[in-house]
């Protein structure tokens, strides 16, 4: 795939893929990221991903020639060489009305039944591209087109942590209480961002997410387990 290289400041370089959201871009980004982290530990300070961007912050200024040599190595990498460690995480979501303040409105706008919205939302596998917006907020690809819905024109002042929502062509989970312009269609009892863990998030870049429908009773049972520290995230 064609890439554009942009030197932003002496120690910051951005690599841009074509302007698309797709799995093959993500897989190449992850391959490159892993290679840079493993082989340039001393000079690479931080790597960030966007949907079609990988930016590299170096610990000191980098010149053309140095970067060109890094780039030529990256371009030779083969996807087949990567060990596939991608996981699929099952995340419980309660779509009952008290946890889903915008579900009815959303179904009406989309001219779908509530059941159909839940069915569509729980059928897809969503790919975690990166975290952004808030600590622990997942940028997920893979929302079915039938559920695309532009965000609200004025954001709600408070969306509760754990709320599962749809905005634009994306779905996601609010990890902390926050203002937000997305339609809240459900809520997960899981702690999406846990400051007390060494790694505060569970799913990693490149993993898949699937939502499954739970009742209020199950929600309360899982919430209790989470609070006691007894809940284990399940994955395939």
């Amino acid at each position: 795939m064609e890439k554009k290289i942009i030197f932003i400041q002496p120690d910051l370089v951005e690599i841009q893929w074509p302007n698309q959201i797709n799995d093959s871009i993500l897989e190449e980004q992850l391959l490159w990221k892993a290679y840079l982290q493993a082989n340039y530990q001393a000079s690479v300070y931080e790597i960030r991903l966007g949907y079609h961007v990988l930016s590299v912050l170096f610990s000191k200024p980098i010149d053309n020639i140095e970067f060109e040599s890094i780039l030529s190595r990256l371009k030779k990498l083969k996807k087949e060489n990567v060990v596939n460690q991608v996981k699929t995480w099952s995340i419980p979501v309660c779509y009952e009305i008290e946890f889903a303040k915008d579900l009815e409105l959303f179904a009406n706008i989309k001219n779908l039944s509530i059941e159909k919205v839940i069915q569509l939302h729980t059928t897809s596998f969503y790919r975690l591209h990166f975290y952004g917006f808030l600590p622990g907020f997942m940028y997920l690809g893979g929302l079915t087109e039938e559920l695309y819905q532009p965000r609200k024109s004025s954001p709600d002042p408070l969306i509760k942590a754990g709320s599962v929502a749809i905005g634009g062509q994306q779905t996601g989970i609010y990890p902390t209480d926050s203002p937000g312009g997305w339609y809240v269609i459900g809520k997960t009892p899981l702690r999406i961002f846990d400051i007390n863990q060494t790694c505060p998030v569970v799913p990693q870049q490149g993993d898949f997410i699937q939502f499954f429908d739970i009742s209020k009773t199950e929600y309360l049972r899982i919430e209790n387990e989470v609070q006691l520290g007894n809940y284990n995230w399940s994955h395939a």
Partner: protein
Amino acid sequence: MKYNLETIIGHMLKTTAYIHFLKPGLMTSVQDQGRFGYADFGVPYAGAMDQLSYNQANMLLNNQEDAAVLEMAVLGPMMIFELPTRIVFSGAEADIFVNDQLQPIGKLIQIKADDQVKIGRFRKGQWLYMGIEGGIQSPEFLDSKSWYHGISEFSRVQKDSSICYLSEEHFSRSHYSHPKLSADWYQKEVIPAYKGPDWELLTIELQEKLTQQKFSISNISNRMGIHLTELLTNKLPSILTAPVYPGTVQLTPSGKLIVLMRDAQVTGGYPRILQLTDHSINVIAQKKFGENLIFSIIENDKII
């Protein structure tokens, strides 16, 4: 084993003490260099808005370079110190009263038990720092003491808050004589910046406007970002969500320029048209509502 007598005495006399806030001020928080290595999880850097003044405060006290300080803005706090220590102020030129006596920034101030410190009017600059001997002893979250909503226990100092420090009767001597700190370095209008990764989306006309027109700081200015008042009318497309950093200047569809600051999220969806230098971030941080600035492009024309 060889013991250094001074170190032993110093250690023995260190006592846990608290600063009690009678008035919290408006934007008072604990900050340090920032929180690095967690951008993968969507965690912003945070850290002192003006890193230059932050460093000065710790240098003057002979603190470790990553010691935590108190950051204040707009409306300062009123506080009482339990036990003796030394403090120093840097950054904004504000009316600093220690027991009703006016003190300048940059001066090492000896604090006795029950001394009261009150911050009055901010005359020049936006962010004031109070360094304290040994640094503020608040808990670390993800390797940093910087306060940030959702990461640290608190995000702002509240009324009746207390923060911890180590009182020391025996002070190590500072290597620095008393320099005079001033606001001169951030009074200049020119803000050097690199072209942002989406610079090429701007028409030649907009590129010229951006670098020739004067902009001013609007009334929306906080730890996340500074909105500029003058609009840059544009027809730029929105971009796919992409990495942003402190110092990234975003252009919104409505023409608003937003200079992202230390608490900025790690990714954004608006075109990123400029990237401020490290020093420019400190300078713009200190600019107040209504103050002017003009961007000056630094070429970084490396091409592959």
